[in-house]
Symmetry: C2
Subunit: 411 residues, 2 copies
């Protein structure tokens, strides 16, 4: 195994070359937790080497976020820095690429007033909408990579001393991000080919629905009309091929927001804005959550699905084998980028317009809605797959074909 | 003398209460060098205590700036993050206050290609123009305070070990910012009254010009028609009274861009973007620099005054007694906020529209130009006052009245 610095450099190179596919002359907008500065600096170097015109990094300071909750006046929490998010949207419209380093403290706001947290999130989500739409619709090339921050590492390895926890989390990140070997870019090319073969096969079969069966789960997820399976590399609307998630193991598509029926139990806890929501079980009727409970964090879950009408419906369904490298690590990362690549999952909220035939090109908002695409301020993934869950594909004629058995692909 | 932390807290309080006069519910946009994080965090706390709705801090990383010069492709240097500056302008239009923490490494770009530095500065200045206009015209309340960063401290105290240099620079900052005593806010009220008495007296006299005489200097600076002297607290156009510079010792007004005549020698070096320009001597004819030289950094000076037509003309003239506390420290800070408050000075470039009767209210760009206000992408102050320089006020009838003798006010 090579040194930490060498692997950090390789992760930065993979982020810029594989994640973004950054084009010479392209601007880059990066967001990062302050603690991820060493990775952000290496990505900046790689981006300029690749010909970036300007790299702008917005460093987020947890202490500033906490200061607001600890000292802010009550009427402050319905406001957000709209000018910044509008600026970001304008940057993407102008051709800028987008890179997010994730590594947030999963418990940062755990001790704060849940009502203020919900209000601040709602205000931020609303202000962020114009930028999020550009990203969700792949108007430009973008990617997310992770950095092992101390707070995140403590959450994943609560029993270890902090420096050891950080080192262990970096090991997991480097391994899952496929930068351990001598040729990370080549490893990503092979991985992208495998994911592409899988989506091609699913797209040829054109299932009308997926059927999940397992402990506490009997759920039929109707797929959107003209849906298309995606996974691995994506060609954004600016013509640049990017890998939006580093790592990624999933293949995913758009469910029909009116055609989800049955009950489902989460197979992993959901870490949402500092609260661990564990033991989620919900029931859908005609696409809508009509019953929900959770063993812990039920109040936060209730607030989340009350965000707007679309927050009670699905915007994504994804299949990941239970033997995926991240799943094999046996860790709960409390970080969507990692946990969603450990298990099959569904997402409440906003659908991706690109998961339609021809990448959704030419489809208006109305066209998307007519085909069953959901719309919401939120997009929250939660895990419903495991080695105990089977998945069938249901053909338009109603015939079931085995897709996954005990969490693994049947072919 | 109280502890470092207590003085840092008082500086943060002065920045928010005296510098900004932040209003409950107001948003705040802060910029800071990464090394100023401890002060930025304290200001964030003070701002939320004062009722800020959202505080957004943009942390600047010198390493990222250097990475661009070291690895960026040649065609990158004519680009800037326009979306960010437009966003900031939009924030100010929407009512946000603005706080800048200055403490930049004066020599950061000293080793870089001067042509690339000039191109990057020009691109940035142009992109920043919409935001700068809001600030220069006091559309909103704003302030600048300083933090003792290691790189800046090394420049001011090159002979000291770094930690000692930083401590000495903090001492100078706390002292100049009047936060050493038990009641900094009260001290600022008294100081603002003294500056206000001085500007009232100058405004009553309505001089047509100032005449500077000293070693290497015989310069007549015609004042703009309807000019007004400013200093200390300013009431911004949003009705909020702020102190734009912490510290501040100057009273200043707008020269007439066509009516500057004679020669002038700088009394301190000018630190510009990492280059120390020393021994500046220039000659003006009808407001325009027609000859310029410098003992060191002459090439950078030449590039600066070639930025645009307005870069060769004056946008500000300011009077500061040679006995000001900052001057008395005997230090060269290589930081405009400090050095400009150590000596009388002039500024090349953009004029402040507020230095006109009635704060410039109701004056269009054309009105300002007709009265002699200069316009440029740049605004660069340099020091022409000292204990060897006399200043006269020249009445519209051509009579000279002594204003300063040997650098001190005559009354």
């Amino acid at each position: 195994m090579s040194t930490h610095d060498a692997r950090l450099d390789r992760l930065a190179e993979v982020a810029v070359r594989v994640g973004l596919g950054l084009r010479p002359g392209q601007e880059l907008v990066m967001t990062a937790p302050l603690e991820a500065l060493p990775l952000a600096r290496r990505i900046t170097v790689q981006a300029y080497k690749a010909g970036a015109s300007v790299v702008t990094t917005l460093l987020a300071d947890d202490q500033a976020t906490l200061a607001r909750f600890e000292h802010g006046h009550d009427d402050a929490f319905d406001r957000a820095a709209g000018w910044l998010y509008e600026g970001m949207a304008s940057a993407y419209r102008g051709g800028a690429a987008r890179l997010a380093i994730s590594g947030d403290d999963p418990s940062l706001l755990a001790g704060q007033d849940p009502d203020k947290v919900a209000r601040a999130n709602r205000a931020r989500s609303k202000a962020y909408m114009p930028a999020l739409e550009q990203i969700a619709n792949f108007a430009t090339n973008w990617t997310i990579v992770s950095a092992a921050t101390p707070a995140w590492a403590r959450t994943v390895f609560p029993e270890l001393p902090e420096d050891e926890a950080v080192a262990r989390l970096w090991d997991a990140i480097f391994s899952a991000s496929r930068v351990d070997g001598p040729d990370p870019v080549g490893a990503w090319e092979a991985h992208n080919r495998a994911l592409s073969d899988r989506t091609r096969s699913l797209n040829e079969r054109r299932y009308a629905a997926l059927h999940f069966r397992g402990p506490g789960t009997d759920l039929t997820v109707g797929l959107a009309d003209d849906h298309e399976w995606c996974g691995g590399a994506t060609t954004a609307k600016n013509g640049i091929t990017c890998n939006a998630n580093i790592p990624t193991e999933e293949v995913f598509t758009t469910p029909h927001k009116m055609r989800v029926q049955g009950y489902v139990s989460a197979t992993k806890p959901l870490s949402y804005q500092g609260t661990l929501i564990d033991g989620i079980a919900v029931r859908f009727e005609e696409g809508r959550i009509v019953e929900s409970r959770a063993r812990t964090g039920a109040d936060v879950l209730a607030k989340v699905i009350d965000t707007d009408e679309g927050a009670r419906r699905l915007g994504e369904v994804a299949l990941v084998p239970a033997s995926s490298p991240i799943s094999a690590s046996g860790l709960l990362f409390c970080n969507t980028l990692y946990d969603e690549n450990a298990a099959s999952h569904i997402a409440l909220g906003q659908a991706y317009s690109k998961c339609f035939r021809n990448g959704g090109a030419g489809l208006s908002e109305q066209d998307l809605t007519a085909r069953g695409a959901n719309r919401s301020l939120i997009h929250i993934d939660w895990m419903i797959g495991s080695a105990e869950v089977d998945v069938d594909g249901v053909t338009p004629e109603g015939r079931s074909e085995p897709l996954m058995r005990r969490g693994e692909w049947v072919d």
